[in-house]
């Protein structure tokens, strides 16, 4: 009985190695014929066009008016000296 169990063990281990070796072969074939392809990079977002000098003065005027309204002051009471673009 003990010898039978030894034989069963040897046979079963052989079968397991055989089956898993076949799976290794399958994986190798699959990977060979279907290699990983890098997905195409998403199209870059076009950068917002830098405002021209005329646009910038209109922007400053608009911000100036909104700020004056928000602060409850007259537009002449303060001035915007600098806008840092980000």
């Amino acid at each position: 009985m003990v010898m039978a169990s030894v034989w069963v063990s040897i046979l079963a281990m052989s079968v397991i190695f055989l089956v898993l070796s076949v799976l290794i072969g399958v994986i190798k074939v699959l990977v060979h014929f279907m290699p990983y392809v890098e997905p195409p990079a998403p199209p870059a977002k076009p950068k917002a066009a830098a405002p021209s000098a005329g646009d910038e003065s209109e922007l400053i005027a608009a911000v100036h008016a909104v700020l004056a309204h928000h602060l409850g002051k007259s537009p002449q009471d303060f001035s915007i000296t600098k806008i840092n673009p980000r």
Binding site: V2, S5, V8, L23, K28, M34
Partner: protein, 397 residues
């Protein structure tokens, strides 16, 4: 009808469970309380040991009709799912849905580590035969070394249903003890230099390969070992739900609600099989000892093969990933990572260890398939293989 207060009190007292409570049941209730303690306060596989413990407690409360063999009882119905191999394969489907084959596909040679770790199954098989079990019982005990609860339950139900309770408890208990059992063995088999080996980053795998692998491996494995179909087939369909990308709802269900529901039913059924008559035997002690041997030998087998792969690859494989070949997903892989990081904090072995870890699941399912081919209830397709045990027995005499 004449009413007698004394008779009525005696009748009520006689109908309580206390009158039928035996010593064996008291011991089993204590065992169930121990399992509950381990699950709740020690966090040993609580998702399984808690329902197993409670199922065991209910089954051993006299006159409750909650034992697995109580005709018409609730757990008798649940047990139907174990007896007719419904529940363990459904668990496998959930595990498949949770499994990423990417690391295995990126380094397919780690499948051999999953095969090598099955040495624990077969040394335990031999040990069980030495201790007086027959080959069917020894096979069911040996599969504990596969460190895979559903496979252990599946095979025990097929080959040794009377040993289901102790086998399931041993399997799940030792699985929870993997972080304690494995590290000393891993350190014993490796040098600090080997534990520091850094492995190359895994290559990415195309989605088509991930989709085709479960299909191709199912066809091949089931053709080679038809007995493995319920476990491996369900494991692979669960994975196909995941990888196909077209069955999101099925994938979600399989990996969450379904696996949780089936775990409850399976664990309660296993607990209900732990009756005093079936559990309180000398065989249970033998199985608990053999289960520990199975886990230790499986770890050692994976480590030895890991060292062989390390030598053959010129030091590119860290042998610590070999211990993950014992299944127990993902705990065994985490143990490889932990032991490796003790030597080098910036060495990340987890993904490399997931390859052999997943290979261990396939390996233990294949080992179960081999046992079923040899000793199972053979159908027409198995008839040719049924001659093998006789040949083996004849050659051994």
């Amino acid at each position: 009808m004449e009413f007698s207060l004394t008779d009525s009190i005696a009748r009520i007292a006689g109908s309580t469970g206390f009158t039928a409570l035996g010593g064996g049941q008291v011991v089993m209730i204590l065992v169930s309380l121990t399992l509950l303690y381990l699950a709740i306060w020690k966090k040993f596989e609580p998702l399984l040991l808690l329902p197993i413990g409670f199922g065991c407690m209910l089954a051993n409360l006299p006159l409750s009709h909650m034992a697995y063999d109580a005709e018409g009882g609730l757990f008798n119905l649940f047990y139907w799912g174990v007896k007719h191999e419904v529940l363990p394969p459904l668990i496998f489907m959930g595990v498949g849905a949770l499994t990423d084959f990417g690391p295995l596909l990126a380094n397919p040679y780690t499948l051999l580590l999953g095969a090598a770790a099955q040495i624990g199954v077969y040394t335990t098989l031999i040990g069980a035969v030495v201790l007086g079990f027959n080959l069917q019982e020894a096979s069911a005990i040996g599969i504990i070394g596969g460190a895979d609860g559903p496979t252990s339950i599946f095979l025990a139900t097929k080959l040794a249903p009377h040993l289901l309770g102790p086998i399931a408890v041993a399997a799940y208990s030792y699985m929870s003890l993997v972080p304690l059992i494995q590290p000393p063995i891993m350190r014993f088999f490796t040098t600090p230099e080997e534990r520091k080996i850094r492995m190359a980053q895994l290559k990415p795998i195309s989605q088509n390969v991930k989709i085709l692998f479960p299909v191709a491996s199912t066809i091949l494995c089931v053709l080679m070992l038809p007995g493995v179909a319920p476990l491996l087939g369900m494991f692979m369909i669960g994975n196909l739900f995941r990888e196909s990308g077209v069955t999101g709802r099925l994938h979600d269900t399989a990996q969450t609600h379904l696996i949780n529901i089936v775990t409850i039913l399976l664990a309660l059924s296993v607990g209900s099989s732990m009756t005093a008559e079936s559990f309180l035997t000398f065989n249970t002690i033998k199985i608990i000892i053999l289960g520990l041997l199975a886990f230790m030998m499986a770890t050692a087998g994976g480590m030895v093969f890991g060292k062989i792969m390390c030598k053959l690859s010129g030091g590119k494989v860290n042998p610590l990933i070999g211990s993950a070949g014992v299944s127990a997903v993902p705990m065994a892989a985490r143990v490889s990572q932990k032991v490796g990081s003790e030597e080098d904090h910036s060495n990340f072995l987890l993904m490399h260890a997931m390859g052999p870890n997943v290979a261990g699941v396939i390996g233990s399912a294949v080992a179960a398939g081999v046992f079923l081919s040899l000793f199972g209830d053979v159908s027409a397709g198995h008839a040719v293989l049924d001659a093998v045990p006789e040949f083996l027995l004849a050659s051994a005499q």
